[in-house]
């Protein structure tokens, strides 16, 4: 590695101020810090620092995304061959899915990173690591048959209008990956809904509807068995189908402390409560679906684990996180059951609560301020009483 280090040290001056490629400094810096943790030492304040940084954090999230991603690749293959009535091996399924999904991943990363590098360069910033996760999330929440140009367009829209116009990583209001998904949903409704897109290259005769698709039109009897939904052997977006794989990812995020358990568990609580309320009302067949079954249908689990817990767009106060998560759960099921135009309520629920999270935080913080002011007043009163007693 010393040779590589020497090489970097040698070419580094070209990218510094006044160098030949000074304009590409952010890009050089991104690659250099990717290869080597910098030799920067503490200057002011604490002399020692935690080993964690944003690269580590983001790569943990990417690792946590791998179980649903790998399962998703297998499932894309399985659903394809199954819909065509063919018997295949595990590896054939996986390979087909891999070839189907990989281009989407590449397109998402190349488009997004190119824009991120461009903005960092223009602003003279270092490249933030946030897109490492977004770039992986986008392919996982789109249907396997999504055309690549749509992926590119949606990614570009999400990065530019969802993130960079607000000032970049850490400043965005909406989750960028969900922004991409919402863009596709509203810009290309014909391509993004119906029964066609959820299975790659399927025979027309095969139904191919997702469980939510069935539920929406009242075909509750056609919803796959809970076991199939839990394992994820169902049509759907690439990474969202297997609740089991998502649980493995959730465990990684919780053990490493990357995701907020407060948000995760309150989303589930909110979803269960809403499902249960619908069970009580029971006006149609959709409302009769057991509350727990909602958790393994559609994007609920995926959204709860990977999207609702995004630390930038979620509530930032610990108390606020309970409210934020709970309302996501409630709204996701509410939208899902009540509004047939939007079978996937999770996406809308999270985006909606993204917008409201600063408001939730505002009220939580106001409560803290009121508590402090009350204490001030009480102390002042006591002082006055003491003074009068003395006289």
């Amino acid at each position: 590695m010393k040779g590589l280090r020497r090489f970097l040290d040698k070419i580094k001056p070209n990218f510094e101020k006044g160098g030949k490629f000074a304009k590409l400094r952010s890009t050089f810096d991104a690659f250099e810090t990717f290869l080597f943790v910098p030799n920067k030492v503490t200057f002011a304040g604490s002399h020692i620092r935690d080993a964690v940084d944003l690269k580590r954090t983001m790569s943990i999230v990417v690792i946590a995304l791998m179980p649903p991603m790998l399962f998703g690749m297998w499932n894309v293959g399985y659903q394809h061959f199954f819909s065509n009535g063919m018997e295949t091996t595990l590896w054939q399924n996986f390979w087909y899915g891999f070839l189907q999904v990989l281009p989407i991943v590449i397109v998402s990363y190349v488009t997004g990173l190119a824009i991120e590098f461009g903005f960092a360069q223009a602003r003279g910033h270092e490249v933030n690591e946030g897109f490492l996760v977004t770039g992986m999330l986008i392919p996982m929440i789109v249907p396997p048959d999504t055309p690549l140009w749509m992926v590119a367009l949606a990614t570009a829209f999400a990065v530019i209008f969802g993130k960079e116009v607000f000032g970049g990583t850490g400043m965005n209001i909406l989750n960028p990956a969900l922004t991409a998904r919402a863009f596709l949903f509203f810009a290309y409704p014909k391509e993004m809904s119906g029964d066609k897109v959820w299975i790659a290259d399927k025979l027309d005769a095969f139904s191919g509807a997702t469980p939510l698709g069935h539920a929406m039109i009242g075909e509750v009897d056609k919803i796959p068995s809970p076991m199939d939904m839990f394992l994820g052997i169902i049509p759907g977006s690439i990474g969202e189908t297997s609740t089991l794989a998502i649980i493995i990812g959730a465990l990684i995020l919780l053990i490493t402390g990357v995701a907020s358990w407060r948000i995760l568990f309150s989303v589930i609580a909110g979803g269960l409560l809403m499902g249960w309320i619908f069970n009580l009302i029971a006006l149609n067949e959709y409302m009769l679906i057991p509350a727990w079954e909602h958790l393994i249908m559609g994007g609920f689990a995926f959204g709860a684990v990977y999207m609702a817990t995004d630390p930038v767009t979620a509530s930032q106060t610990l108390k606020g996180q309970y409210i934020y998560g709970f309302l996501i759960g409630v709204f996701a099921i509410l939208v899902r059951v009540f509004n047939p135009a939007y079978p996937e309520g999770m996406m809308l629920a999270i985006l909606f609560m993204n917008i409201f999270s600063p408001l939730i935080d505002h009220y939580v913080i106001q409560a803290n301020i009121r508590m402090r002011k009350k204490r001030w007043q009480k102390a002042e009163m006591n002082a006055v009483v003491e003074n009068t007693l003395k006289q």
């Binding site: 604490s46 002399h47 954090t57 690591e129």
Partner: protein
């Protein structure tokens, strides 16, 4: 009165290699220095010149804005250097110690028989007064003010901190005399805050006239702010005073002997020290003598204080006025290939992202590497885990950055100090210099409101 028992729940104990062995090495450094930069908000006006002879207790400078506050020589000797920095800021007044050890006599007295004014007068004249600081702002206490209480945190929870029981051993008389003097300074309580669950020196246990409180929990349980906020929180307009036990001893000795006796123990700690131990010398001592032939090979950093809040000094630098610890750790100016991707068995992290988490009891040899570069605030909701206050730290930091005084007050800036953000700065994923920001905020609000 029964001691109050308080458990600090949030925080982090950073286990490092290099704890000081409990043995005292006498150390006679040749030079000492008083550093005006140790005192927040003090604008020094010199009273001596290079070459002048001084005794222990001779005033060296005073504060331009509060002329009665004098800063005096810790030892007798000759002024050999007056060092200035950028914009002629006064950095160090260096004294070469003489062997005679002469000291100015301020007169012995029993504080119990003196009035508040007499006690304050003696402390101001001898230069011991700056040992008492106030919250908010951590500036030197204002003699004309009545604090609502005085706090003595009698243990230190920071990494490799000296054992306060050891620092005061056998000095019960001086400690009690110091307490007697402090009692006269407030109409409120004098709080003596001891660790819960571990053995405590009789010097502390037998102290009379104090309210004993017991604290348990991880660092920052030994910091004064969490102790104040759990016993008697600071409201807008409140002032409390605080000092640490070695400073109480100095006050006690002033009344017992009539002189400014700056003798104190320093814990020499850190993974780069060959033989970490306690060194007896005087306040402001040059550390060269202590670290000579006592530091391991390689680039090192010398710190007066602990690794979280201490001040960087040179190999021949001087101990800070308020510090009773010197730490030596390795510098971290190296590149690490794919460092962010390693399993991390040797890396310490508060998060669970490294496999070192599987060995919770191990001690670390941490260096000064930043482990990354500065980024935007991304990982929200983490700071609160090491911040034992009912305060929203990130929101307060942002209020400081936009210089919104009302919001800073409302979010509780009077209840905290920069040192309370040291752990937040340590665990911060975005590597932002948070203590600097908080210090700036406190200074901003102090300048605007006074």
């Amino acid at each position: 009165m029964m001691p109050a028992r308080i458990k600090i729940k949030k925080g982090l104990d950073i286990q490092l290699i290099g704890e000081a062995e409990k043995k005292i090495i006498r150390c006679v450094p040749q030079t000492y220095a008083l550093k005006p930069t140790d005192f927040i908000g003090v604008f020094p006006k010199l009273l001596v010149q290079e070459g002048e002879e001084v005794k222990a207790g001779t005033p060296l400078f005073f504060d331009k804005y509060r002329e009665q506050i004098l800063f005096t020589a810790p030892v007798s000797g000759r002024i050999t250097a007056i060092r200035r920095g950028l914009k002629r800021v006064l950095l160090e007044i260096v004294i070469e110690a003489s062997e005679t050890g002469e000291a100015i006599d301020f007169g012995k007295a029993d504080p119990n028989t003196l009035s508040r004014e007499q006690i304050i007068g003696k402390m101001l004249k001898s230069g011991i007064w700056p040992m008492i600081r106030q919250r908010p702002f951590s500036i030197i206490a204002k003699p004309e003010q009545q604090p609502k209480a005085i706090f003595i945190p009698a243990f230190d929870s920071s990494p490799l901190a000296p054992d306060y029981n050891f620092l005061v051993e056998g000095q019960a008389e001086a400690f009690q005399t110091g307490i007697d003097a402090l009692k006269k300074l407030t109409s409120g309580k004098v709080h003596l805050n001891l660790p819960d669950g571990s053995s405590v020196s009789n010097v502390f246990l037998e102290a009379r006239g104090v309210q004993v409180n017991r604290f348990s929990g991880p660092h920052p349980a030994g910091n004064v702010s969490p102790q104040i906020s759990s016993l008697d929180p600071i409201n807008k307009g409140d002032v409390v005073w605080y000092l640490r036990p070695q400073e109480v001893l100095s006050i006690g000795r002033l009344f017992l002997s009539g002189t400014y006796d700056a003798t104190k123990l320093f814990a020499l700690t850190g993974s780069m020290v060959e033989r970490p131990a306690y060194y007896q010398c005087k306040a402001g001592a040059c550390i060269e003598e202590m670290v000579k032939d006592n530091v391991k090979e390689g680039p090192v950093r010398f710190i007066s204080g602990n690794v979280l809040t201490g001040t960087r000094i040179e190999r021949n630098g001087f101990a800070g006025f308020y510090d009773s610890q010197i730490t030596v750790i390795p510098e971290g100016d190296y590149y690490e290939f794919l460092g962010w991707a390693t399993p991390g068995l040797n890396k310490f992290s508060f998060s669970g992202m490294f496999f070192s988490k599987l060995q919770p009891r191990r001690k670390y040899r941490l260096d000064t590497n930043l482990h990354g570069a500065e980024r935007a605030f991304v990982m929200t909701g983490k700071y609160e885990k090491v911040f034992p206050f009912d305060i929203y730290p990130m929101q307060l930091i942002k209020a400081i950055l936009v210089e919104d005084i009302d919001l800073m007050e409302n979010l509780g800036i009077y209840e905290i100090d920069a040192e309370d953000f040291a752990l937040i700065e340590f665990i911060d994923t975005s590597k932002i210099e948070i203590q600097t920001i908080v210090r700036k905020g406190l200074e901003f609000i102090r300048m605007e409101t006074t």
